[in-house]
Every structure is written in C-alpha cells, then in structure tokens.
C-alpha cells in the first residue's frame, strides 16, 4: 500500500503539467483543428520529461538539492537571475490561469459567475499550502486527478476504428488549410506543456519535502515512469476525444466547457460529473504546483529556508513569497482576462526558457562529488539527454519568431 501511495508525487506533478488549465484547452483545440497529426509530439515530450525528471529526482534524493539550487550554482548569479525572472513570471501567469480554471470548473457545476469564485479558490489553495501535509496533498489531488481517465473511457466507448486512428497519428503532416508555421507553433505548445519547467521544480522539491534518500531511488523511478506517461496518455485521450466528437461537427475549442463536451456526449451525465471533478483536481493541483514552485524558486536561488516540511515560522520568507504570488494571481484573474490566452502565452514563453533549467540538471547528474560515482548518468542516458538539450535549444530559439509569424496561432 505504501508503495502504491508513493507514486502520487509523480502523478500530481504530471497531471499539473500535462493537463492543467491551458493544456486541457490546448490539447482539445489541437485535436479539433489538427486532428491527430500532432499526436507524435506528446510521446516525444513524455520521454524528455521522464529523462530529466528522473535525473532531478535522483539528485534531490541523494544529496537533497532541488533544481533551482543547482541552477544558481551552475549558471551563476546573472543567468540564474534571468532564469528566475522568466520562471517566476511563468509561475504567476500559470497560477492566474489555474485559479480561473478551478473557478470555471466550479461555476459549471454551480452556475455562478466564475469571477466571484476566484477569491474563494485562492483562499482554498492557500489553506492547503499552509496546513495540509505535503504527502496528503499529493495523494488527494493526484487521486482525484485520475478522474480524467474518463477521457480514455470516452474514446473507448466511442469505439473508433483503431486502425484509422493509429494511421492518422502515425502520419504526421501539415493538414490542408494550415501553414507549416501554425503546425510548428502548436507543436511547440504541446512540447512546452510536456516539459514545463515548474514540473521539475515541483518534483525535485517534492522529493526533498517527502524526505527521499538514496534508498528511495526506486520510488523515484516508479514516480517518473508511471506519472509522466499517464499525463501523456490523458493528453492524447483529450486530443482524440476532440478529434472524434468535435471535429466532424466543425466545433473549435476555446473554452474549458467545450473540453468536457465530448465526454458528456459519449459517456453521459455520470461521465460529465466525473470529468468536472477531474478538471477541478487537475487545475487545483496545478495551482498548488505553481504557487509552491514560485516559493521554491525564489527561496532556493537566494538560499533561504523553504518547504512545507518546516513550520511556517521557520520558512517565513518562503510563505510570504507564496502569499504575494497568490495575491498577484488573484488580482490578474479577477481582471477578467481570458485564462486560456494567459496559459497559451505562458506555455510558449516557458518554451523559450527551457534550456536554462534543464542544462544544470544534466551537469549535476554527471558530477560524482554530488551524487557519487555509482549514481551518475550512464552513456545511454547522456546520449538521450544531450539530444533533448539540442531540441530544447532549437525550440527556445524558434518559439518567439513563430509566435510573431503566426500571431500566436490564430
């Protein structure tokens, strides 16, 4: 049982990364607009995040050092600060969208204007950060997030021709009516969603919060190999649902409610109830992940005491940062800004900052003074990780120009 409960850090991290507010909409929008021609990006992203999250978890378990600590140490104060500013802004933007997302999920059930619910959601998020033990938090929201598996059920019940679905996914091409630029732009958004930096900030800090040691390396592997592929599966299921149910009727997706539509059509009322719980848990989980990551990154860059495993009094500045971040997120969300647009921009911006986060992880995972000669990367792992680093650099260079050329994918 303990082993079973031990993998929820990975599951929560992955759900918060792959199927948070922005990705729920982005996955469905991609399925409705590009059918399955971009599905191949998801497994590519899954392998990348598995490789780097495993390294970050291994380093955290062996020497107790989370990712942003290493970022400062390996990149120095200037590049570290550049990464901090980028990552922190992304955290605030994503948190804004998640707070709105939770409120929208609640308003779909309760028929109240979601803006009225945002402050209430913020208080809930803060209470969880303030009082709930880390492991309880990861279990509750990881477990509830599994409700999103109803998207897999929906694909199954729809009973598509699996051969056609597979050949559509296995044949990447730019669909007619789209330019190579929009195709690449949506591809980068999917890849950026899979490898969002706050996933490794949260996962490695969570490993420290959960008190992992060198004996927990198997747990680290189990978390990574179960959590992230599960996130990828959910992502593909949402895409397939939109492709199968919405695309034939020419329905585009630009709101959270439309994401749940295919499940309501195929599975019915019970399915809709389950999917709403899943969306609530995923967006709430992502809100926790980004709020905590905001505290983790700042505290670890400056060397402050941090974490939920300390009493709040013993990590005061960490909690002040989280409070201020939540406040900023709430104010922006209450301004009525479209939360989907906010996450679209934040995913793409995070793609531009990716190498600054992943490069230091690769360096330390090869340094025996940190993790001992027995635990450094093997040649095979280094080869894959290096290939991904090249991809990350290419993506980060291409992101901003593509955003300008495609007018953010419109």
């Amino acid at each position: 049982m303990k082993r079973f409960l031990g993998v929820f850090l990975g599951i929560l991290t992955a759900i918060g990364g792959f199927v948070d507010m922005g990705d729920l909409v982005a996955n469905a929008a991609t399925g409705a607009r590009f059918q399955m021609t971009l599905a191949w990006v998801v497994p590519v992203g899954v392998v990348g995040i598995v490789v780097y999250a495993e390294m970050s978890g291994r380093v955290a378990a062996i020497c107790g050092r989370p990712v942003f600590d290493l970022v400062r140490e390996r990149l120095g104060p200037r590049f570290g600060m550049a990464n901090l500013i980028a990552s922190f802004s992304i955290n605030v933007l994503t948190l804004t969208a998640e707070l709105a997302g939770v409120a929208i999920a609640l308003s779909l059930a309760a028929s109240i204007n979601y803006l009225l619910l945002v402050p209430f959601v913020t208080v809930l998020v803060w209470l969880v950060v303030w009082r709930l033990p880390f492991s309880t938090m990861e279990r509750i929201f990881g477990l509830l997030g599994l409700c999103l598996l109803v998207f897999v059920v929906a694909v199954w019940q729809f009973g598509p021709d699996w051969g056609t679905l597979w050949s559509a996914a296995a044949d990447p091409h730019v669909p007619s009516g789209e330019t190579p630029f929009t195709y690449a732009y949506f591809g980068i958004a999917l890849f950026g969603a899979a490898m969002t930096p706050y996933e490794v900030f949260f996962f490695s800090s969570g490993a420290v919060e959960d008190g992992w040691t060198v004996r927990d390396l198997n747990e680290n592997r189990a978390n990574v190999f179960i959590g992230f592929p599960l996130g990828g599966l959910l992502s593909l299921a949402i895409m397939a649902c939109a492709h199968l149910v919405l695309a034939p009727h020419d329905i585009g997706v630009d709101q959270l409610s439309q994401v749940a539509l295919p499940v309501a059509v195929v599975v019915g009322k019970l399915g809709l109830a389950i999917v709403l719980v899943g969306i609530f848990a995923a967006t709430f989980g992502a809100a926790l992940e980004t709020a905590l990551s905001a505290g983790y990154t700042v505290a670890q860059y400056l060397g402050w005491p941090w974490g939920k495993h300390r009493r709040p009094r013993q990590a005061s500045r960490f909690h002040v940062i989280i409070l201020l971040t939540l406040l900023a997120g709430t104010v922006i969300a209450c301004s009525g800004i479209d939360p989907v647009k906010v996450t679209e921009y934040s995913i793409v911006l995070s793609a531009a900052a990716l190498p600054l986060t992943y490069f230091p992880i690769l360096v330390i995972a090869n340094d025996p003074t940190y993790i001992g000669t027995g635990h450094v990367n093997g040649r095979f792992l280094n080869t894959i990780a290096t290939i991904y680093l090249v991809i990350l650099v290419a993506v980060s260079v291409a992101t901003i120009p593509l955003m300008i050329i495609t007018k953010a994918g419109s």
Partner: protein, 132 residues
C-alpha cells in the same frame, strides 16, 4: 588562515548554499573577499553574503554597497559585519559551505526575522507542523 587548502574558488565556493552550525539554510556565498600574500598567492579571507553583495557582484555596485551598509546598520549580530563571515568561521566545504555561526548572525536572516515577526507569526497555525 587556519589551513592552506587549495580550492577552486569559483567552482567550490561561489554560489554555494550556506548552512549554519545547526545545519539550517542561511543564504548563499554571494561573493568572496580575497587577499594577496607577499608571494603573490591569493587567499580567501572571508565569505560575503546577502543581497548587497549579490547586487555588487552582478554589477550594480553603488546599489550593492548602499544595501550592504544598510543591512549592517539595522542588523543585530555578534559578527562585526553580518554580511562578512571570516574564513576562520567556515567549518566545512562540501556540496554546501558549512559555517560555525548561528543563522541569526548572518546578513540574510534579517529579512527572515522581519517576515516571521511582522507577517507569518501573526497568522494562526504558523507555529505548528503541517500535520498537527
């Protein structure tokens, strides 16, 4: 100087995590103070920490010096200058730099104390472990 251990200052010292004598996190090695001996060898004489030194090192020298002075002025510490920890007070250099002083005596702790006494300490539950 107690020992003549050779360390690569940029690699083994700069930007490392500082821990106090109880193992608590208390800032980063933001800069180093060096002194040149008669034979031309450079020695590390002190570890510099705190936002003032960080700003100074990243090129904002006027603002850094000003901030460093301000911290020294408002800080109550058993050290003469809480942002300057003499190298004799460094007990170990590993993947962290361990100090033989209390976190309370180090420059970056002024902010922690302020946040604790003026903000976090006033919120109910701040003294409890999360699982209590």
């Amino acid at each position: 100087m107690t020992t003549g251990r050779v360390v690569h200052a940029a690699l083994h010292l700069l930007d490392r995590q500082l821990r106090d004598r109880h193992g608590g996190l208390c800032g980063k090695v933001d800069d180093l103070e060096l002194e040149r001996a008669d034979d031309g060898t450079w020695y590390v004489t002190a570890v510099l920490t705190g936002p003032g030194h960080l700003l100074y090192r990243t090129g904002r020298r006027t603002a850094g010096t000003w901030l460093g002075k301000l911290i020294t002025h408002i800080e109550s510490s058993s050290l003469d200058d809480p942002g300057r920890i003499p190298y004799t007070h460094v007990s170990e250099i590993g993947i962290t730099v361990d100090l033989a002083v209390d976190a309370d005596d180090v420059a970056t702790f002024a902010g922690e104390r302020w946040a604790r006494d003026h903000v976090i300490g006033h919120i109910p539950g701040s003294r409890h472990d999360a699982d209590q």
